[in-house]
Amino acid sequence: MTAAKVLDVEDLHVSYAGSSRTPLPVVRGVGFSLRRGEVLGLVGESGAGKTATALALLGLLPPGARVSGSVRLLGTELVGLPVRDLARLRGRRIAMVFQDPLAAFNPAQHIGDQIAEALRIHQRPQSARELARGRARELLEGVGVPDPSRIARSYPHELSGGLRQRAMIAMAIANDPDVIVADEPTSALDATVQAQVLDALENARRATGAALLLVSHDLGVIAGAADRVAVMYAGRIVETAPVDALFARPRMPYTLGLLGSVPRLDAAVALTPIPGGPPAPGSAGPGCSFAPRCPLATEACRAGEPEPAGSEGHLAACVRQDALAGRAAADLFPASAPLRRTSPGGAPLLRVAGLTKSFPLPGSSGFRLRRKPAEVRLALEGVDLEVRRGETVALVGESGSGKTSTLMEIIALGAPESGTVEIAGYDTSVLSRADARRLRGSVQILVQDPMASLDPRMRVADIVAEPLHAQRVPKETIAARVPELLRRVGLDVQDAERRPHQFSGGQRQRIALARALAVRPELLLLDEPVSALDVSVQAGILDLLRRLRDERGPACLFVTHDLAVVRQIADRVVVMYGGRTVESGPVTDVFGSPRHPYTRALLSAVPLPDPAAERARARIVLPGEPPGAGERSTGCRFRGRCAVYTALGEERRRCERETPATNGAGPPGEHTSACHFPYDAKGVPARLRPEPEEHPPVR
């Protein structure tokens, strides 16, 4: 690689003002360079200093942050440059794509005008507003936005996340920048949309020839998009390498552990959670900041912070990198046993059939003189699922597909709008008070954000004991059970006296789990329980959930958007699309030979944390946007994005008129799908097979 350097960062330090006037260092001596057309992936867990580094490049850190070191953009030193001069470079030579495109756009201005402004700021003299608007539409078209004229006249809140992020990319490349900094550009998006956005980013980068700094916590995204990778830990870059070398032969124990804790879609593997957590800013010792968690650490590691060393562009800040050679993650870190996939075959515990749920549109309810029938949006249009005793069932789908609504309908223990919910043999629509009370104890829920679900003023012991009090368990029994519960979820007994804010995210999720387990539930509902956690922490929680399952704990219904997590933890999987169950069955069957075209697309959208496999993989990029809650529809809701439907001839009428029923009838729990033309085990769509004789008549 001999392209010219466009960005050169040396010894960059960033510190925020701490509460006690001592500056908290969040970036400590970061250095890297970017050549024209190159993609550098910057990975690390939360708090590693990735975003602070990215913002420091453009001088966009919040007031109170102190920056030192050097950032040279095309030879111009940016650190210490007056704001006026910096503003002239921002957006023109170096541009940024932010994580949350809804918050990053001005809510009160048309998208097209915001892009046009990015152009006109840097024009002397400024071109006519109309001319800039026309160019904005071209830019939107360039990032693959359908109907750019309409999108340009839309406000940010009127667009989906994927469209917004592509518009953000269009704005970033408006002035042909030399460097694009993208900070977690796809973290807030669904996997299927993530693929679209990453494509748009790659095309935009090619079109402008810019260098890209891609900041992400997602090793799968990095594996597919980056040429080189820099791994950050506790404010420092601990390893830099070409992407293949980094994933194949990491030289820093942290990188190895990180790679080992990423769940993979292609195989259920033993994950290696890294014990402990990163040091808080400012508390790093004199030595290597990873040494306290590192199984290879020696006295030399604790003596001083190691400098990056290595060869062939593969540098690691580790004095023990030779000792690491040839070792796998499982050799270093305590690995969890892979999931023993047994078929529990227990009695059905939860049965949901034909469940629907609608919400009134805002403004259609409330006081009015003449009652009009309320306009509604259907969140659930027919959900079928079953959970048997002792098994873990994953409920997957894009955001807005109705996963959380399904959980809420189950835990409401009430009468659904239509359809049935049966728990342990009780139909929830006709529960007596006593039965409802009993069931309430036997169904527990764990939500995504543990901090929001834990009362900050209560001690952990009281939090865990609360459901027991509600069930009127005697005080002595409670006193004995709390320590036992804390041990069971991997917390110390002493933690009982502390309060939630004193714990990390992963530990808080453990507290919430202890609370859920306190009343010995039969069914545990989990709503994205690991989505907010870093992978090394996530691996620990997944391991815990798996042990619970092996100990014959509660049956679990696990809502997640992350299919790799499903592979790690679930026995069976239920796929939802637009409020309906479209496919369900054992994980190995559904992932091995998906029948519904949507399931195939969903699976293909998951990036693999393996550069070679990721590059070789064929991706099905779904056109269009995931549907939200919609109006009552006829036929298949997926057909607008379906490749099979597009290829069909006259038969497509069936997809338009008939709502596909679940087929593949067999014993409950077997592989079924709701598609008129499903794929067979060899991955061939049914339409290419000879038509069966008893074809149902088209109505």
Binding site: L58, L60, P62, V83, R84, A87, R88, L89, R90, G91, R92, A95, M96, F98, D100, A103, A104, F105, N106, P107, A108, Q109, E117, A118, I121, H122, Y155, H157, M171, P362, G363
Partner: protein, 327 residues
Amino acid sequence: MVGRLSKRLAHGALLLLFAVFLSYVISSAALSPRAYFEDRQPRPSAATVDHELALLGTDDRTPVLERFGHWSWRAVHGDLGRTVDGGSVNAEFGRRIGVSTRLLLVGTLVGTGLGVLAGLWAAVRRHRLPDRALTVFSFLVLSVPTFVLALLFKEGALWFNQSAGHTVIRYTGERTPGLTGSLATHLKDRAAHLALPAATVALGAVASYSRYQRGATLDVLGSDHLRTAQAKGLTPGRALLRHGLRTSLIPLTTFFSFGFLTLFTGAVFTEEIFGWPGMGSWFMDSAQKGDINSVVAVNLFAAVTVLLAGFVADVLHAVLDPRVRTR
């Protein structure tokens, strides 16, 4: 959006009816025009008092709902009744409405405008001298009741005029009676009279709006979209003016509809103290006399202006924020 706003207007009309009804019933219960007539010297006969009360439609022997029915019937036909002194409420209303509207309008505009500017300035200079000074000023003003503020102003003006040797600041009435001269002279005279009462009404508004605007601006200063504006190449100052100001005004519109009520209450005392013949001083006088019809008329005015302020706030909200415009 037009549909939504007309719905709001219809709701407003309902609220107005309710407010007028309540004010009629409450003032009928609290005020006693009978006592006012009986206290006259020489004391009129019981029959005379009954006759006067019947003429006013405020005879306390008739059930209050029936009285309200008669009153509303006349009100619908454009007649707000008679005052205890025998004059027409309509005529009094007409004389006073302009005075109060001028004071409220100038007070609101100056108060809101200066409040927003001061809040913006304080947010940009956060934790520095201007911000701290404004904070102290705001809390001082907010903790002093309007009538104390008005009296302080009046005393100050008196002292100032005495030390200057001639009248520089006018503090009584809305204009100099019997003034002759060109339009410019009249305008100057009005402005001189307006300065102190308007300042009294506006000062409270400046204090509270500046606190809200400061908070709203600080939220916007830390927002992602302002950072994006800088990433596009705008300097921080220009980013705030072009993208931050408008979004920071959105939460203020809601506050505006509530804040107007406080401002209105302040104006009532201000009129009384500075001797302005407006709605506020009429309210004070007629409440003392037990003049139910006049009190209800002032309440009608208050209800209309407050609901109107709420409607203006709704329109402003929709203009500023496209997110509420849907449907």
